[in-house]
Assembly symmetry: C2
Homo-oligomer: 249 residues x 2
């Protein structure tokens, strides 16, 4: 059995807050003692806020390109400018939707820049600069306090091609192999599985979102009981396809 | 808290088996009493087997198109023929990968036709003809025995563009709204959320896969504690984008 436990008593996070300490305090308040089957899934928004990844749009001077794309996207020129600064290229900009490749390599709407649950009417929140490194720092900080190696996944909601609705996906990870590789293992009929790799970090992120919700202020979820012995790898190494390897770009 | 409970004592399923009865028996053996917060996630493979959706490739005469595409895909001409019969069109066929749109409207590898965990070396398994209807029948059958309205999701693993690794997604559902719609609700700053719909059935399918695994013979998972009051809708109505509405086709 796996349990999904929301960490419910996390205060509003501002720049400079130490997320490891915040998590350890929340665990203590809920009287949760970590064990070796725990994985922590944490919402990108509080990580970004702690890292000061907020931009006041009133201070942004939009480029000519941003002004042009703003008309197609429905965003303000200032918001579009921030989206462009976070992107290496714009893949689609039509029907009020902007899809970019971010500097990390994620393909997503608006370079992951958004304004929900962000204080100040003209402020937007950017993704962490290096989400794998953010996850590593949070994990090591928690280990320092608890002596438990806690794998950490940082997540955000992504839309998908072909299907309605967004789902939660991993944007950074530490202490867990993002992929569970079944190649070469035998199925129930003794046949070797050929090509099955499962993106378990994305599935863990999805599971956590069922508890996080958008409105309930549960920015971190402990997944308890998921057995994963392979702790190597991170999102940047394992999860992102290189350009030229994708059939839908 | 949400719990993910694997149903571990499900026998090998063959054509004509009643999945509702199999599930009810498995619940009884594990001494699980259903409650109103339960959602059942069930692997496509056992549903397809119960519906006789198996094809012996030795009995398939491949078309000229199948013979041609087989060379590009690495599949046998017979396997390719079955993939084509399940598809309305082929979107990509290169690098040993075939991506089709199935008759249901799913965009996936090999029209969902596969040979893992299927008896007989030359037999492949197809998706159910109408997975929403399959989910409805299983749900209603369980209600008949238990008097509990149990939402049912049928799932399969799908690859994605842009990201390595497959994840579990819902291909059919009954008794649960596939989308959780936040539009118009207020975030922590009192700002109305603009465009956020979450594909909760896909997240539930992902959560279940963490227990199902590919090799452990756990083809059904009970998700307990997920509060979802909106029981309307199904995958075909809610989840599939129409042609022309997608930026990546």
């Amino acid at each position: 059995m796996i349990q999904l436990i929301g960490l419910t008593e996390i205060p509003e996070i501002n720049e400079g807050h130490n997320i490891s300490e915040v998590i350890v305090a929340a665990l203590a308040r809920q009287e949760i003692v970590l064990d070796q089957t725990d994985v922590l899934v944490i919402a990108q928004k509080i990580v970004s806020k702690s890292e000061g990844r907020l931009v006041n749009l009133q201070e942004i001077l939009p480029s000519e390109k941003a002004i042009q794309l703003a008309k197609k996207s429905g965003h303000s020129p200032q918001h579009m400018e921030v989206i462009l600064r976070e992107a290496t290229n714009v893949l689609r900009c039509e029907n009020g939707v902007v899809i970019t490749r971010t500097r990390h390599g994620f393909i997503c709407a608006n370079s992951g820049v958004d304004s929900s649950n962000v204080p100040g009417g003209s402020t937007v929140c950017l993704l962490p600069i290096d989400p794998d490194l953010s996850a590593k720092k949070i994990s090591l900080g928690i280990t320092l306090s608890t002596n438990v190696n806690l794998p950490v996944i940082i997540c955000d909601t992504f839309g998908r091609p072909w299907r309605n609705g967004a789902i939660n996906l991993a944007i950074g990870s530490w202490g867990i192999n993002p992929l569970r590789d079944y190649r070469g293992e035998l199925d129930s009929e003794g046949i070797s599985l050929k090509s099955t790799q499962i993106a378990v970090v994305d599935e863990l992120a999805c599971a956590a979102e069922l508890i996080m919700n958008k409105l309930d202020r549960v920015p971190a979820v402990l997944v308890r009981g998921y057995i994963n012995k392979d702790r190597s790898g991170c999102i940047r190494e394992s999860m992102l396809r290189k350009e030229g390897e994708d059939l839908f770009l």
